[in-house]
């Protein structure tokens, strides 16, 4: 069967790799391309670049980083943050991205999902969802790094996005992002059960056990890791070893 994917997620601000804590504070961690190359060599299955300040400046500035990375990193690259139109998507895909991740622009105009899927294929159209649990136990979708409410129920939203042609869901828990306390497994399971397209769980991984949990209980198809990687707490070898020990199929590197 298909292996569970281990994905390195890099949040970029200008030329710097940064790390956010609960989507609020930012710390500069290093050079994104250098890190991407290192993660590729360490066995990452895919890379995600998120432009952390795109919504502030109204554009996506990752074209150069993506272009440099694509020259020597030969695994799928997803780019998100500030993708507002098929033109934005085209620019990024041409510069080396294989997929674009869209959040805010899709919330504002859901037909954008269909437009990107039609022009570039569903496999290139990843819906990025930031989910925060409300008092009633349901999850609401947010934008702008968990700052802006949308009023959308996450489960309804992902179903609709799939119908419109999204090929994957990149699911981030606003509550768990940067905490290293584990994923919101109930959230991931609910979303994974609501759609038939792959779900990438993001936000909260602190130990390899968290990964095992979100795959086994959360039914995630892929796991995006940021914090643990960037601060050198955990490596891909650790994650693969733990997965294998738990009987989870992962790529043999």
């Amino acid at each position: 069967m298909s292996s569970v994917r281990l994905i390195a997620r890099l949040d970029v601000k200008g030329a710097n790799l940064i790390k956010g804590v609960q989507m609020e504070g930012l710390r500069v961690v290093g050079d994104p391309h250098e890190r991407a190359l290192r993660y590729y060599q360490a066995g990452a299955d895919e890379l995600i670049y998120m432009d952390a300040v795109a919504s502030l400046y109204g554009r996506n500035s990752l074209v150069e980083v993506v272009s440099r990375t694509a020259a020597d990193v030969f695994i799928p690259i997803t780019v998100g943050g500030g993708v507002r139109s098929p033109t934005d998507a085209h620019r990024l895909l041409r510069s080396g991205a294989d997929k674009v991740a869209v959040n805010t622009a899709a919330v504002r105009r859901p037909d954008l999902i269909a437009e990107i899927a039609r022009q570039f294929g569903s496999q290139a159209m990843v819906l990025s969802v930031e989910a925060k649990q409300g008092r009633d136990g349901r999850w609401e979708a947010y934008t702008d790094c968990g700052r802006e409410r949308t009023g959308l129920d996450v489960l309804d939203w992902v179903r609709r996005a799939q119908d419109l042609g999204a090929g994957e869901i990149l699911l981030t828990s606003v509550d768990r992002e940067g905490t290293r306390k584990g994923f919101d497994v109930a959230l991931v399971r609910a979303v994974a059960s609501a759609v038939s397209i792959p779900v990438i769980a993001s936000g909260g991984l602190g130990t390899a056990a968290h990964m095992v949990d979100v795959v086994r209980e959360g039914l995630a198809d892929a796991v995006a890791v940021a914090d643990a990687l960037h601060f050198d707490r955990l490596g891909f070898a650790d994650l693969r070893a733990a997965s294998r020990a738990a009987g989870i199929p992962v790529r043999m590197v």
Binding site: S2, S3, V4, R5, R94, D221, A222
Partner: protein, 212 residues
Amino acid sequence: MRDVVVVDYGLGNLLSVARALVHVGGTPRITEDAEAVATADRLLLPGVGTFADGMNGLRARGLTEAVRAFAATGRPLLGICLGMQMFMEKGKEFGQHEGLGLLAGTVVAVPPTGTDGRRHRIPHIGWNEISAPDGGPLPGPLFTGLGARPALYFVHSFMAVTDDPERTIATCDYHGWPIAAAVGCGNLYGCQFHPEKSGPAGLRILENFLAL
């Protein structure tokens, strides 16, 4: 000389393929010119998208005959993903469509459930191990230098089924369903996976193709 013409028919991210070819010492030329395609030393047909769009893209540029003419020369031809699927006679994505007819076979949907009846993800996305259908080593020259079961990157919702099983030279398993991972006949090869996105293993496959 490791020249390779990469067919541009309007679909897919050609630059990824070109970058990977350069990385392994190739000299790719991206073109939609039928003459260049028909007379290439080596031809690569990439592709991401639907069968119908792919065939329409080729037809609109007068490239279907050019690719067929090239294939008839016996010089090396590699199809990737949709490129491989278009080698078949027909495709069943959104209706029935005619392919290039370089190999007898059909393109059909990847079944939405595993053989145990449980729904699985469509598209089939991710790294999957490929192996030779008879369980032996993967055949050279395309797979020279790789282990018995290398993992490669797949992303597709449709799959090629060759009429002659001998033409399917590698398969992968998707919850019980064997999927044609690679096809081959003479110097014609196809990969359902993306060698340009499959790390060192994929790069080795491209390198082997360039050595043909």
